[in-house]
Every structure is written in C-alpha cells, then in structure tokens.
Amino acid sequence: MQDTNPNLKQDSDIRSNPIKMSGEKVTVHYGAKQALFDVDLKIEENQVTSLIGPSGCGKSTFLRCLNRMNDTIDICRVGGKIMLDSTDIYNADVDVVELRARVGMVFQKANPFPKSIFENVAYGPRIHGLCRTKAEMDEVVVTSLQKAGLFEEIKDRLDEPGTGLSGGQQQRLCIARAIAVSPEVILMDEPCSALDPIATAKVEELIDELRENYTIVIVTHSMQQAARVSQRTAFFHMGNLVEEGPTDHIFTNPKDKRTQDYITGRFG
C-alpha cells in the first residue's frame, strides 16, 4: 500500500509482521477544532507500538479512535478509515461493544470497579457471555490475573474490593480485566504515569510478556518507556503523524528535525 501522505517520514523497511490495525487518512474534529490531520499509521500484530508527542499532539485522540472511544464525545467527528484486520471499525454495522472487547483499553488512572477483585475481572466475560459455568469463569479470572502478573500477590484476597489494592496492583487489575475478554489489541493510555518506578517496571515487564499474545498500542509521555517497551514508535505533533518507524531508529537517529527536537528535549 502506498503512503498517501508525502510529508510523513516512514521507514520503508520491510515489515516482518502482519498489519493488525491501520489508520488511513484519519481526521478528527472536536467541534470546529481539528485534532488530527490525515494520519496514516499501521499497527503491527504482536508488536508494541508507542505513540509519543507533546501534550495536545493528537496521540491520545488517535488511540481513542482505535476502539471508537471517541464516540462517547458528542462533538467529536472522525473521518478516514480505521481497519481492524479487514473490517472498517467505523462501519455502521460494527457492534461497538463487541469491538471494544476485541480492542481493549487501559487508562492513565487505574479505574477498578467498586467491586471485588474477582468481580472486576469476571465482569467483562459475564456481560459478553463468554463463560457458561462457574468453573469456566473461575478459570478465566485466574488465568487473566496470572497473565497480568497479579495472581500470586492477591490470590487469597479475591473477595476484597479492587479499590483496596495499591496503585500498581490496581493498574495490573485493569490489565487483567482487559485481558479477560480475550482481546486482540490492547490500547494503553499512559498506563504508568501514576505509578512509582517499581510498579512501572512490573507493568513494563508485563507489556513485554503480553506482546506474545496481543497487539499493543501505548501512549506515553516517557521517552525512556517508549524506548524500552516498544518495537515501533510514532511521533505526533500538532495533529500530524510526523514520523513512524522501528523504535531503535527513532531514538538513535530520527529523520525529522521535529522528532529529534522532541526526544532530545529541545522543544520550545
């Protein structure tokens, strides 16, 4: 496929992974204000893609397009195409609830339901009717908590409220909740910005493990985090995708001056 935006500096390397999601000429308006301009971005399967850029650059807006979270904002209009495999997720016949099960999301601030740890994880599978028996549900909850690297720490406290966990544990609980409905893609919007370095390290370790089974897109303000956890990085600036490529290249030898200025801390 040809890149439609001639200004975009995209590495022309041969991609070794299939494309799981792709945005084509994505535009977003909040009322009269345009937040994204013709963004073309491909998300590779089983890879971690970081979206970086200064505040207000459109990275979270783009992330939120990937599972139609922007639908919840009345004045938001999305244009262009967003493909998940071969489906345009903005097609009228797409069931948004089902879409969000396939493309899960973890937010900046851990937001467990005011329910028990068990119920936090069981909620998704239950509303999607994924488990028929109690035994099945137990298994899904335990596996999800294990995959989120949380099970060992809380296995004796499954009935306690999720809100009673530490910040880092709450965030991993939210990841377990996202995993429980067997998503294909997990979107993370600054998942570590409220965590201490140790909790951050645990989440980063988890992201690396999750990559084996899921495609991950992460928005982060920490350049070091993007460099550590992702295989590909996309730099946004003022609603444009400026540069996208292998993370190793972006952080050692970016092509665009704006990327260089941003990652080296030279933005005025």
């Binding site: 350049m223 070091q224 460099a227 952080f251 050692t252 030898n253 970016p254 990327t259 260089q260 200025d261 990652i263 080296t264 801390g265 030279r266 933005f267 005025g268």
Partner: protein
C-alpha cells in the same frame, strides 16, 4: 542546533566537546613535539614531551566521568546520545595518540646518540606533517560536526599508509647496507609505525564524527 529546554544540558554538552577539543590539541602537540625532538635529536625535549602523557591520561578520565554523569542525569537521546558515545570513543583514541607520541619521544634515547642521516629524518618529518594535518582536520571536523570533512580524513589515510610503506623499504635498504645503521633505523621504523597508527586513530575519530553528524556508521563503500 536548537538549544535544549533545560539550558544546563547544553552547558554539559558544551563542556564535554570543549574538553575533547582541548585534549585533542594536547595529544596533537605531543606528537608534533616528539617528532621535532626526534628530528633535532633533542633528548631533553623528548623527555619533557613524554612526561605530558600523564596529564592527557587524566583528561581522558575526566571526559569519561563527565560523559557518564550526563548519561545518568539526562538520559540522552538521538544526536545527544551519539555525541556522548562519540566523545567517549574519541577520548580513547586521543589517549592512544598521546601514548604513541610518548613512544616516539622515548625512541630517541634508544638511539645511542647516533644521529641518523638527514634524508631519513626528512622522510619521517614529511610523514608527520601529513599525519598531524590529518589530526588537525579531524579535530576541526569534530568541533564543526562536519561529516564531509570527516570523510576527507578517512580518504586520505591511504596516503599515510603509502608513505609508511615507502619509508619501510628505505629503512630496510639502509639496514642492509650497513649493520651499524640497524639500531637507529629500527627506531625510526618504530617511529614511522607509531605515526601510521596516529593516522589510524585520526580515521577512527573521523568515523565517530561522521556517526554523530549522520547517525550512520561510516563503512567502506559509503563514499
């Protein structure tokens, strides 16, 4: 290049490049002084030159400390990161250059007071001129971040190698002519070899300069 938002970061990097430039100047003049002492067969000057090596080692150590501190404090990225990595590599090269200057200076006292023929000394002098010019060019290329100038230095290294080869043949002839020539010829040969190595370090530095400027590794076939 645009300044960093945190201005002390720029001060840190300027400090680092300033130190490299200073160390480069010192290493270069050490080789120059050693060659002058050799040509004039001035043992005292040679000893004074060799003694400067310690100060240059100290400079290398300080550059390393500065670079490590910047990495720890700033977590540098992209060109900043390349600049710091290059500073570490260049400091190592310069330290080696100073060592070679010291070796040349020391070879003088090993000549048993025998003054080699002018003609042979001219050969060494000529080689030294080119090698020192290479050093000056590469240090200029470093301060101006000029990858084209760096390429020019790399290209010219063949010339240095060719001069070394021809000097080698010349010394060999002298040694075959008269065994009494062997001691000073062998020492001059070492000096020439040391100069050839200085030229190689200039090439290494040029590769580092190219890397800082372009982010790419300068390989055979790049130019």
């Amino acid at each position: 290049m645009t300044e960093h938002t945190v201005s002390s970061y720029d001060d840190d990097l300027r400090n680092l490049t300033g130190r490299i430039a200073e160390m480069g100047g010192q290493a270069e003049s050490m080789v120059e002084d050693a060659i002058n002492a050799l040509v004039r067969q001035d043992v005292k000057a040679a000893q004074a030159t060799a003694a400067k090596d310690r100060a240059i080692n100290k400079m290398e150590q300080q550059i390393e400390e500065t670079a490590v501190l910047i990495i720890a404090r700033r977590q540098p990225m992209a060109q900043d990161l390349r600049q710091i990595i290059a500073a570490l590599r260049i400091a190592t090269d310069l330290e080696r250059v100073a060592d070679l200057g010291k070796n040349i200076a020391r070879s003088i006292s090993a000549m048993d007071g025998k003054t080699p023929p002018k003609q042979l000394l001219h050969g060494i002098e000529h080689m030294a001129e080119i090698v020192l010019e290479q050093m000056r060019m590469v240090l200029d290329a470093y301060t101006t971040s000029d990858s084209n100038a760096a390429i020019a230095v790399v290209k010219r290294d063949d010339e240095v190698d060719a001069i070394y080869k021809s000097l080698f043949r010349e010394f060999l002839t002298y040694m075959m002519e008269d065994p009494r020539n062997i001691t000073f010829c062998a020492n001059l040969l070492f000096a020439a070899k040391h100069l050839e190595r200085v030229g190689d370090h200039a090439t290494n530095i040029a590769e580092s300069v190219y890397y800082v400027d372009t982010g790419k590794v300068l390989e055979d076939g790049t130019f």
